[in-house]
């Protein structure tokens, strides 16, 4: 009940004309960048973030806009997957399995409709779960000591290696690198310069927007430049439209997918791609009696798309309640809040209810907007795929630099963004994941602060880090997360 009262307060924030307009813009931008392969929500949020800051949007409005881009992208990725047999977002990869066969049978419109409705069901049910689960989860964490926080952050970072599809060691190295980048600048505890190499520009530390734009906007464009793009989209098709009976037959699949997606999403480290894949294989095992999955079964489209959106919302739960982001995009959102000097975590719901509840309420509204936008206008979004690179990417890069400049007014930061862009490109080529860098960067200072606070409390006794039940549980989980990739490799 308490949550409902707070949610009403959130609606009072979310329904102001400006916040409604921002959510609407975010939904359109989110769907559009979801459609475009190569640019994801992380790129778009990194691009928009400096403008939110430079325009002095209040934090709740900035978060409403940026989050709408995030969950809106979950609606866009499927369009490309179904029409092009190529995921617009990595998490939509599974959707191609049944979505593209349906498009080739002329039932593209039906596949798009069922996946749009699935996205809505998954996202909205997850927002309901989030409404009731966030505060209890935050309440557990209120009692966390600095030592418990150290264990929690180390666990979140180690988990990135365990669930990353590639090399776990590279993911951990990237996390360490992210932390090291966060340490650049003046140490808040003692006022001493660290890792600045005597540079005045680095005294204040590396700006989050510079890192995010470099890695995710500039690096991505550099990667696109090395291949010559060619693609051809399937038409929407004139086959039978989605019937009510077909939609109803997909409902059980959507409910199951919401459960799987939300749980996977809440776990830190595991993202929407894992949720979509797990949901699809589970659904196939449960309901594929005639072997129709993979040949164009509507449930095979509904299931991963529902799970994908449910996981995206689930990812926001640990970010808001614990201050620990579960994915790269939520890490960027966390970085946005940190730029506003707001530390997400257990106290957010009591100290800054307008931010936490304003966001949650706006997601109810935003998902309705997305459903309305996506059902009739799907053809319009699909047409984005015909926009050539030479129209799109000069603008992306120019906007990136304008954003960096708007925040810092410094040529040095522009150069640094180019440097991070090259680094992002090289790391992608080397199969080093970039998400841990962002996660390490936003959690690095927090980790050190809590570490030093814990040591101050225990007078330098390292054993104090293992002194409570929550910390012991979390360290055990960390050990499992570190050993798991090693065992997995042995088994393979």
């Amino acid at each position: 009940m308490e949550s409902l009262t707070a949610l009403m307060g959130g609606f009072a924030i979310a329904l102001t004309p400006m916040n409604l307009a921002l959510a609407f813009i975010g939904c359109i931008v989110g769907t559009a960048i979801g459609v475009l392969p190569g640019i994801g929500p992380m790129n778009a949020i990194a691009l928009l973030l400096p403008f939110c800051f430079a325009l002095r949007l209040p934090p709740e409005s900035a978060l409403i806009l940026l989050a709408a881009v995030y969950y809106g992208s979950g609606y866009g990725g499927r369009i490309t997957a179904i029409l092009l047999n190529m995921p617009g977002e990595p998490s939509a990869a599974i959707t191609t399995l049944d979505g593209h066969p349906l498009a080739k049978q002329g039932r593209g419109a039906a596949a798009l409709a069922v996946s749009g409705i699935g996205s809505f069901v998954g996202a909205t049910l997850s927002v309901v779960l989030m409404t009731f689960l966030s505060v209890p989860l935050a309440r557990i964490a209120v009692g966390f000591s600095p030592a418990d926080y150290v264990a929690l952050i180390v666990f979140a970072l180690s988990l990135l290696g365990a669930v990353a599809p590639g090399n776990a060691v590279k993911a951990w190295a990237a996390g360490g690198l992210g932390i090291a980048l966060a340490l650049v600048g003046i140490d808040s505890g003692t006022g001493i310069e660290r890792l600045t190499f005597g540079s005045i520009e680095l005294l204040g530390g590396i700006d989050f927007t510079v890192l995010a734009i470099g890695l995710f906007a500039i690096g991505e464009v550099l990667l696109l430049l090395e291949t010559r793009m060619r693609m051809s989209a399937a038409a929407l098709g004139h086959g039978a439209r989605l019937s009510l009976g077909e939609l109803l037959s997909c409902i059980p699949a959507m409910i199951r997918a919401t459960g799987i997606g939300f749980v996977i999403g809440v776990l830190p480290g595991a993202g929407a791609s894992v949720a979509a894949a797990l949901s699809y294989t589970t659904e196939k095992r449960i309901s594929d009696r005639t072997g129709s999955f993979g040949k164009g079964d509507l449930r095979g489209v509904a299931s991963p798309e529902t799970a994908d959106n449910a996981a995206q919302i689930g990812n926001l739960v640990p970010m808001l309640s614990l201050g620990i982001p579960g994915s790269g995009t939520t890490a960027v959102l966390l970085g946005a809040l940190l730029m506003y000097n707001i530390t997400p975590g257990p106290l957010l719901f009591t100290q800054r209810p307008e931010v936490a509840w304003g966001l949650i309420a706006s997601m109810y509204v935003g998902n309705v907007m997305l459903l309305v936008l996506n059902l009739p206008l799907v053809g319009l979004f699909a047409r984005l795929l015909a926009v050539p690179g030479w129209v799109l990417y000069p603008g992306v890069i120019a906007l990136s630099f304008a954003g960096v400049y708007a925040v810092s007014n410094s040529a040095f930061d522009l150069l640094m963004a180019v440097g991070f862009g090259v680094l992002g490109y090289v790391f992608r080529k080397l199969d080093v994941p970039l998400v841990p860098i962002i996660l390490g960067f936003v959690l690095g200072r927090l980790l050190e602060d809590n570490f030093r606070r814990a040591m101050a409390l225990s007078d330098g006794d390292v054993l104090a880090l293992f002194g409570s039940i929550p910390s012991l549980v979390l360290w055990a989980c960390t050990l499992a997360a570190i050993l798991w990739p090693i065992l997995r490799r042995k088994a393979a």
């Binding site: 403008f51 430079a54 325009l55 090399n167 060691v169 590279k170 951990w172 190295a173 360490g176 690198l177 932390i179 090291a180 340490l183 140490d187 505890g189 003692t190 001493i192 660290r194 890792l195 500039i218 464009v221 550099l222 430049l225 090395e226 291949t227 010559r228 050539p388 690179g389 030479w390 129209v391 990417y393 000069p394 603008g395 890069i397 120019a398 906007l399 630099f401 304008a402 400049y405 708007a406 040529a411 522009l414 150069l415 963004a417 180019v418 862009g421 090259v422 490109y425 080529k429 080397l430 199969d431 690095g444 980790l447 050190e448 570490f451 030093r452 606070r453 040591m455 007078d459 330098g460």
Partner: protein, 145 residues
């Protein structure tokens, strides 16, 4: 052997980076720290993680560096972006952005007239949007815009 070279280089770079950070951390001397461990311990721990991971990657290289279909556009774009960082203030936003967009459009295989068109719309368009509409001041060059 050749295929694992990039990974070995990555591992050794990380190892050197970790060693460098650790060495730098040891030089941090403070007369008084509010906490018992000071500014040194944490960077040293992080450096150890980076170096350890680097050593592992160097010892067991895996990845294959996928050969790029084309490298020239990427190199040209990088150079143009670095030049943009230095020329933005002297040239002003519109002129500098026009040149940058021109190069990037050409790198994305636009024909010359397409690139000029794309840059001529993007640069003033962004300036109108950001400087005029959203009131974010951008550098004005010799042209006054």
């Amino acid at each position: 052997m050749r295929g694992t070279l990039p990974d070995r280089a990555l591992g050794l770079t990380l190892l050197a980076l970790g060693a460098g950070i650790a060495w730098h951390a040891q030089s941090l001397e403070v007369a008084f720290a509010a906490d018992p461990i000071g500014p040194r311990a944490f960077p040293t721990l992080v450096a150890a993680v980076i170096a350890g991971c680097g050593a592992f990657v160097a010892a067991r290289p895996t990845a294959l560096w996928e050969k790029a279909e084309q490298v020239v556009p990427g190199l040209v774009t990088t150079a143009a972006m670095a030049a943009y960082a230095l020329l933005l203030v002297p040239l002003g936003f519109i002129l500098a952005t026009f040149l940058l967009c021109l190069v990037i459009a050409l790198a994305f295989a636009a024909r010359p007239w397409q690139a000029v068109l794309s840059a001529a719309v993007t640069a003033p368009g962004l300036w109108l949007l950001l400087d005029k509409l959203l009131d974010l001041p951008l550098p004005r060059g010799p042209l006054g815009v």
